[in-house]
Subunit: 338 residues, 2 copies
């Protein structure tokens, strides 16, 4: 699988890679630091590399045959966070023949797929992903992921793109929290294109939907994929702005909720909500599908996003008029927040 | 969806349906009774019917327009069982045009699929399913499901078949328990066809495999699908024998393990194993896929099989030489038990 058949990327394509890497690595480090500071607990770091057979091996590569950088960081049972899983990756590879990015789940659009190739499709991907589950059920779970793709060396305008977004999953809905999260992301979008926020907010509502439950997994945020309109510099500036919006959009909510009193019933409801989260991840999440289908991601990294505890009860309808029932009602149809 | 376009089934096809129904209903009632007796807790029963729009509504049908019988029974936080979900169904319907039983997940085989039809495919299905999660981590989780299908009225030899099986998922492996479970099922198989046990044991090993983990979900049992070799009477006798093997194959293991001492670490490992169970259900289980894809099953019933609690930890490798590591090793490759 590692016998890559990449056309040699041009200097400018290599420069695009390294600028995207820099933005995502920065987000990875900054977010990690902010979470550790709030929690008082350190992440455990696990780097990965691929051996000469292309298999994932824990630890950094001891030689320079593999350019892959793959770092997982995991925090378990902290003071504020029950579980946080964050990953950074910079990876060159080849999709197996017949496997397109679209089929694999890495691409959403139905537009012409340049990725089919009888020899397999060479690609480059870099990105950072974050799933953070707080202890206190009043504090929401958050997910963010930003990524940059090049296929076939990236040397044509449609051979590279950005994707990503951030979305919030509360177990108890505080409207001001939802509004704050959306507002900060809207401001980042508005600085670059007045149409972005509404488009990406709608795409987020559509994507983070659990069809078999008839519910969204949370109150959304922004989401975009295959974003390649405009110049690389413009898009990099936009995505960098998004990555920098993540901490101010999310952490104030945790600070506000982390010491609120809660009951065992509240905690159990949080586990039920996390059960729905697991359902979304395993049946619908595109990144997970890409990881599982491409074989390019190791399983520990893929499941770094999972909650520490998820629960299922038969017929888990909350009592009418309860905060839990109110949340369910809100999740049934998308609404505006910012 | 309820405007069924069934060819009128012959008297003999109706008799086949009712004999299959009787066998599965019997298993449902007997298993329920045995579990209640061991646990000292009663199942909560929830019947379902479909309204005139084909939507699932809780409760029995007040009129006779719908022949569907759908009963869920759920037990939560009992003395011996943490969660048990059992379902009985007898259902007539029509698969949407373009949706074949094979595509929907209800059929495994690659053989000619008689179920495609531009008007949608009328079918009849009856079956019972059981997923039982004990409290004590030393007692294994068990799953069984037996079902009978007719398509297009069932009036040709290849238009009806049986499917089903039973498999065991221990968190701690007691070899004598695995051997007992297999032996009882082997005896049921051997009474009907000397080739059955090995074939169905292998099919079970193949089916209950989690590719992204490189592990089986448990130590197997028997599994068959699209079974239509021989006469209806012979197959009904075989499947009935299997349904009657379930209690003697499983309950003695729970009786043996339910009062064993265990630690919080053992309980947490059980939750990790149940996380893998959830992964299998949501990524691979054919019955769940059929339920979700066909829209013929309501979501509460589908998720009646889920565990009460499942856990994920980053890099959950057990300590070398531990019982947990031994289980993982066993799950990596199929082996003989009976």
């Amino acid at each position: 699988m590692l016998e890559t058949v990449l056309e040699k990327p041009l200097q400018s394509q290599l420069a695009m890679r390294s600028q995207a890497e820099k933005a995502f690595r920065q987000m990875f480090e900054n977010t990690c630091q902010a979470i550790e500071q709030l929690d008082g607990t350190k992440f455990v770091e696990q780097p990965w590399h691929r051996d000469s057979n292309g298999l994932w091996v824990a630890g950094s590569s001891s030689d320079n045959t593999d350019d892959t950088i793959y770092i997982d960081r995991a925090l378990h049972n902290g003071n504020v966070f029950e579980k946080a899983g964050i990953n950074y990756v910079s990876l060159e590879g080849t999709l197996p023949p017949g496997m397109t990015l679209q089929k694999s789940g890495a691409l959403s659009t139905a537009e012409a797929d340049h990725t089919t190739s009888s020899e397999g499709t060479p690609f480059f991907a870099t990105g950072a992903s974050f799933v953070i589950h707080p202890q206190n059920p009043m504090a929401p779970t958050v997910h963010a992921n930003y990524r940059y793709f090049q296929v076939k060396g990236g040397n044509q305008p449609s051979y590279w793109w950005f994707g990503g977004g951030a979305d919030l999953t509360p177990a108890y809905l505080f409207e001001e929290d939802a509004a704050h999260f959306h507002r900060v992301h809207k401001e980042a979008c508005d600085r670059h294109n007045p149409s972005y926020y509404l488009r990406f907010k709608q795409a987020c509502d559509e994507y983070f939907y659990i069809p078999h439950r008839g519910e969204s997994r949370g109150i959304g945020g922004i989401f975009f994929d295959h974003l390649k309109e405009g110049s690389f510099e413009e898009l990099l500036a936009f995505v960098t702005d998004c990555t920098e919006a993540f901490i101010p959009a999310y952490l104030p909510l945790v600070e506000r909720r982390k010491d609120m009193p809660f009951s065992e019933e509240n905690k159990q409801w949080q586990r039920i909500v996390r059960g729905r989260y697991v359902e979304f991840i395993l049946t619908s999440d595109r990144g997970i599908r890409f990881g599982l289908a491409s074989g390019m991601v190791n399983q520990q990294s893929i499941f770094n996003c999972m909650p520490a505890l998820a629960s299922w009860e038969y017929d888990d309808q909350p009592a009418p008029g309860s905060p839990e029932a109110m949340l369910r009602e809100v999740l049934k149809s998308a609404r505006g927040w910012a």
